[in-house]
Amino acid sequence: MTAGSRLRDDPALAVSVAVLWLLLGLFVVYPLAMLFARVFWDQSGFTLAGIATVLTDRHQIRAFYNSLLLALLVGVIGTLLGFLFAFTATRCRLPRLLVSAIDVAVLLPLVSPPFTTAIGWIFSFGPRGLITNGLLGIKGVSVYGLWSTLGAEALTYFPIAYLALRPILAAIDSNIEGMAQSLGATRWRVFRTVTLPLSVPGLANAFLLLFAASLADFATPLILAGNQFPVLPTQAYLQITGLFDFRGGAVLSFTLLVPALIVFVLQRYWVGQRHYVTVTGKGAGQVPFDSVAPGMRWLLVAACVAVTVFIAYLYALLLYASLVVALGANHAFTLQHYKVIFTEGLKPIRDTLFIAAFATPLGGIYGVLLGYLVARKLFPGRRTMELVSMINYALPGTIVGIAYLIAFNDPPLVLTGTALLIVACYVFRYGPTGIRTTIALLQQIDKSLEEASQGLGAGTGTTFRRVTLPLIMPAFFAGLGVVFIRSMTAISATIFLVSIGWTLITVKILENITELALGPAAAFSVLVVVIVFVVIAAIGRVLRLLRAPGAPVTSFLGA
């Protein structure tokens, strides 16, 4: 039976595929095509002038170079930090309490708006920073520039590396390490020749994820980079919001496309296809391997604790700023800022929750449906469909946001200013996590289950609903979790889509922080962290209920 004939025989499948293609065309391909058009066409036809102006402007070249440098450094340092945490967590036999403390500290940056670290950072360093001046007595240091941006981004994004590396390190059979040692290798040699090579794909994957995350972040540089270290996403943002120069913004964001795509391709075809995991069955009991010497163990634990304490300090500072009248001037306790956000800030809170409430289930369903079709059904172009569905996920948010703004600001499809556009942005940008989880999960489930159902006469729809769906529920909830967190915290794409009718908490926080209202900004941030924590804790509960005993832990925070 050919793939085409399947579609004819199976109307439910045909309809699903058609609807998905329509949506992908509308919300992934069309905006990107319009972005291309804006970059390469003007009134007189095809032109390279737009690109040429950027490529010949040495400031833009410097911004481009800065962006790459920053992403590279964030990738390296974030991966090292992530590896340090993952290695310590899996190899140092930590007390339970410490592991929980580390987990919370790692989770905090993941569930906050992407610039919360930057806010704490700016008050801690600089000429009168709480740390540089207050604690260390250093004078005359500048808080703006590469180092601050790098520090804040590395702290914000290293949890991604941690989540990517931890399962890999945990999966390395400790018997292999033990064997190497009993053959006479020192601990260092075991680490160098066994542990490290086995985690190489994980390291590469973590690096690429961090590289992409940094490339997409415009808010941290907006606060910390200053004028000496311009980066492209921030420049594109100012070009669009300040000057409403769509073309200029489009061209700037377009230049980010190339490195972003390279990273995506590398991640997908080079790292994604290799499996180095050494689990060969659950037969032999695992003998815990003493992979670190006691001295080293203390060093590693101390390093992790230091980073954890620093993160805790940044968030404590944020909490403190939300509870005092004016940080640095009047430290009297007040709930005024919370009062402000629940009166003035009620609209963005309502809008954000409303949008998240729609984006979350839709994103979950989208992820599961597309993942299922791609993993289980034969139909023409299913590989292409999978690839297209990943585009908005792989591209930096600035590009996606600008593409949406350009595509939907003019007829035939005027959607700017509507909640629908923001919801669509979240669904197609963060739904792909659900797609990947679904595909991964389905690869572990024998196809014969579904074939039996169809053999008994059930159609695609019924089989999906009654056999497959219950099996892939964990992926559905994983997708829900990611879409919800991002709906509450993302800013890079949606800042271009807010309007008089719909505005978002994150945009409000950025607005407050670039104004002089630190108190409300801090209070908003605390609120977001609390909401997200509560919701993901609830989803996590459901996820635990659903997981069959022995099934792999699927973290919905992981990429």
Binding site: Y144, A329, T514, V542
Partner: protein, 345 residues
């Protein structure tokens, strides 16, 4: 598979599908009977009390969102064919002058129009002033003491190497405060562009950061993270009122003051409501409220007295108005040159 388990799994999924959107619907914003839409350039903490007073007085609710003046103007221009708002509220006059050039406003002469000084109104009524807002120098007291400096009293004082990497001021790409500052420097230099830009180039090494918002640098200056900067008096006095130890001073050569405007958008969906807001905002009805909410704008309406403590600060300061026509005509050129020569030297 056990039926119970299966059902439980399905129910959880269904429950999530139903409950989440329902939550959203409950949270959906309810719209009042009479609502007008506005972009406010004034920060929320000043715009909101004014709009609430307006609602109290007229029963009309103002739905608004705040943008920096550059962003707000850019949005109004981009939405020319399908305006989303009825009124552009607050923001320096050069922004409104640029809007006139773009043809985005609908002329309307409010009741107070005839009473206002000519610099507080556009001849055709395309915009009308609601307040006046001088720029000031604001410096951190500790910084001054440490460096043995007095609060700057001349534009040239800011060129002192003691301020190296210590000043924060707004970015002309997004902020009207920055544009007003640049036009002040032009005015002080007899509108000689080259002279003015030569000054700004000399000032550049002392600038630590150009901020996205006009008030963006006030907090760093208040905390001492920056030594000083050039801000609108409202932002500076607000910083002082919060308890930060800062000095406010004026240059002897003079400094610009921007009228803050309001305008009706061409093609507005609720023009009658918009006109009511403009009538109210340009009259003493609103401007008498400034003192109550500690908003340190200078009222534009001649019948409203300047609040005494504000008047005391302004006494003796040499302040000149920014010429709206000159600023509107040259805004784009000057901003482009600033980006090319000052921001990215």
């Amino acid at each position: 598979m056990k039926l119970v388990v299966y059902l439980r799994r399905r129910m959880l999924g269904l429950a999530a599908l139903l409950v989440l959107p329902a939550l959203g619907l409950v949270a959906a914003p309810a719209l009042a009977a009479e609502t007008l839409n506005a972009y406010s350039i004034w920060p929320e903490n000043w715009a909101r009390p004014m709009f609430e007073e307006f609602e109290k007085a007229t029963g009309i609710k103002v739905n608004f969102v705040r943008f920096s003046s550059g962003e707000a103007l850019a949005r109004v221009i981009a939405e020319k064919n399908n305006p989303r708002v009825d009124v552009l509220f607050g923001g320096p006059v050069e922004t409104f002058a640029a809007g006139v050039t773009e043809g985005v406003f609908e002329p309307y002469k409010p009741a107070s129009f005839a009473k206002l000084a000519p610099r507080f109104r556009q001849a055709d009524g395309q915009w009308t002033a609601i307040a006046d807002d001088p720029l000031v120098f604001m410096t951190n007291d500790k910084f001054l003491k440490e460096k043995g400096l007095k609060a700057p009293a001349s534009w040239n004082d800011l060129l002192n190497p003691a301020y190296k990497d210590s000043l924060q001021m707004a970015d002309a790409r997004t902020s009207g405060t920055a544009v007003t500052r640049i036009f002040s420097i032009l005015e002080v230099n007899g509108r000689d562009e080259n002279k003015a830009f030569a000054y700004m180039k000399k000032l550049r090494p002392n600038v630590q950061l150009y901020t996205k918002s006009g008030g963006g640098g006030t907090l760093p200056v208040g905390l001492g993270q920056a030594g000083g900067g050039i801000f609108f008096i409202v932002d500076a006095l607000d910083t002082k009122a919060k308890g930060y130890e800062v000095s406010i001073s004026f240059p002897s050569e003079g400094i610009g003051s921007a009228a803050e405007g309001i305008a009706l958008i061409k093609g507005a969906k609720n023009p009658e409501l918009g006109k009511k807001l403009i009538d109210w905002a340009t009259s003493p009805a609103m401007q008498n409220q400034f003192a109550k909410y500690k908003i340190n704008f200078v009222p534009a309406h001649p019948d409203v007295a300047v609040e005494p403590s504000l008047a005391a600060i302004l006494k003796g300061a040499k302040i000149f108005p920014i010429d709206a026509d000159y600023a509107g005509a040259n805004r784009k050129k000057v901003v482009d040159r600033w980006i090319a020569e000052i921001l990215n030297p």
